[in-house]
Subunit: 221 residues, 2 copies
Amino acid sequence: MPSTTTDSDGTSPGTGKRRVPLSRASVVAAGRRLARDEGLAAVTLRRVAAELGVTAMALYRHVGDKRELLVAMLDGVAEQLVIPDGTGSPSDRLVLAFRALHDHLTAEPWVAEVLRGGELFGPSAARFVEHVLALLAEAGLDDEQAGDAYWALWWYTFGHLSYLPALGPEGRPARHELMTRVRMDDHPRLARMLSRPPRAGAAEDAFVPGLRALLRGLLAD
Amino acid sequence: MPSTTTDSDGTSPGTGKRRVPLSRASVVAAGRRLARDEGLAAVTLRRVAAELGVTAMALYRHVGDKRELLVAMLDGVAEQLVIPDGTGSPSDRLVLAFRALHDHLTAEPWVAEVLRGGELFGPSAARFVEHVLALLAEAGLDDEQAGDAYWALWWYTFGHLSYLPALGPEGRPARHELMTRVRMDDHPRLARMLSRPPRAGAAEDAFVPGLRALLRGLLAD
DNA sequence: ACCTGAACACCGTTCAAGT
DNA sequence: ACCTGAACACCGTTCAAGT
C-alpha cells in the first residue's frame, strides 16, 4: 500500500527489492546520511526505515531503540576523527587536537545536537580524551587538574559548536528579531556587536584565539 | 468530558471553574512551573493547557506557537537575573557577573535546553551582555576583541551548563555504560578520570577556575 | 472575543501475526 | 529469524463550530 502512495523517498526504494539484507551497519549508515543531508530532525525511525525500503518496526531488530541508533551514529563520527600531532609544545599540540575536533564536528553539525541530548560520547572518542589528558600531564598538570582542564576545554569547544548556527547565516532572522525587540539606546555596545557586519567565518576564526587564551590560563602555574 | 476522565493534574483543575481568565502571563507562568517541576519535556501545549484547566487550542490565542512560549519563558528567567557588581578589577567583576549567570541558570536547568534550541536570548538578557561588554572595554579591549571575548566566555559557560547533567548523578548510568564499552587498558588516564570519585559539586567548583583561566588569557595583551 | 471538538500529519514503541 | 500491520499513547497545529 505505501509503496504506491509515498513518492518522496527518491533513493533506494523504487528499485523494487532490496539488495542488502538490512544490517545494523546499514541502518546506522542510513541514519548518518539522513542527518547529514536533511538534519537531525529528519532522523526518525520511520524515515530511516523508508530510506532502506523497510518498515520502522524492522529497525528494532538491529538497534534496540532510537537512542542506541544515535549513539552508534555518534561513534561512527568519532571513529573517523584523525588526531594530528606535532613536535611543538604541549599547548601547541593541544591546539592542534582541538582544532581537528572542531573542524571534524563542524562538518557534521548534527553531532553537537546529539551530544546535547546528554550523551557523553561513544567509545571511539576515548582515543581523543586519552590523547588530551596525556598532553595535559606532559604540560605538568596532575590527574585532577588535567581532568578539570579537559572539561574546561570541552565546554568551550562544545559551546562554540552549539552556537555556530545561531551566529551563522541561519541565525540571521533570530538576531534581527532580537534587535527590533531590545531597546538598543540603552545597550549601545550590544547594538554595535549585533550590527557589526559578521565577517565571513568570524565564529570559526574566533575559536582558536579563545582556545589559546583558555590554554594559556589553564597551563600557567 | 476530560474533566471527569483525567486525574493526573492535581493543581488548578478540580476546583471546577477557573478563577483567572487566562492571560499570556498565566500561560508563561504555567510553562515555567511545569519546566521547573517536571523538566522541559513536560512542557507540551497540551500539558500546559491542562495545568490551566483549558484545552491546548486555547493557548494559541495568547502565545502564537510553542517557540514563542519558550522564548517568553526564557525572558522571564533573564528578567530575574540580578547582576552583582563590585569595586575590584574588571576581571574580578567579570567573574562575579558570570558566576551569577551560572548560578541563576543552574537553578533552572531547562533554560540551557531551550538555548540549545537555537535561541540567542530574550530582550531581558541584553542587560547582561551590555554589562559584560562594558567591563571588557574597561579592561582595554576594542569592540571587536570584546565581541570575540564575550562569545568565548559564553561558549565556556553554556558548554558547562549543558554538561552538568552528564557529569552529575543523573549521568551516572551513561558514564557506567561507557566504562564497560571502552577498552580501559588502552586508556589509563580516561579510566582514572571516569573512576575518580566525583567529589561533590566538582563540576560547579571547576567552573570558576576555568573561567578565571579563560579571562586571564583573554585579557592578557 | 474567547474557547472547544474533531481532525491532520506526524512521533517512538509494543505486540500479535505473517513468511 | 526476520519482517509487517495495526494499534497505543503521544506530539504541534489548523479550522470550523460553538457561546
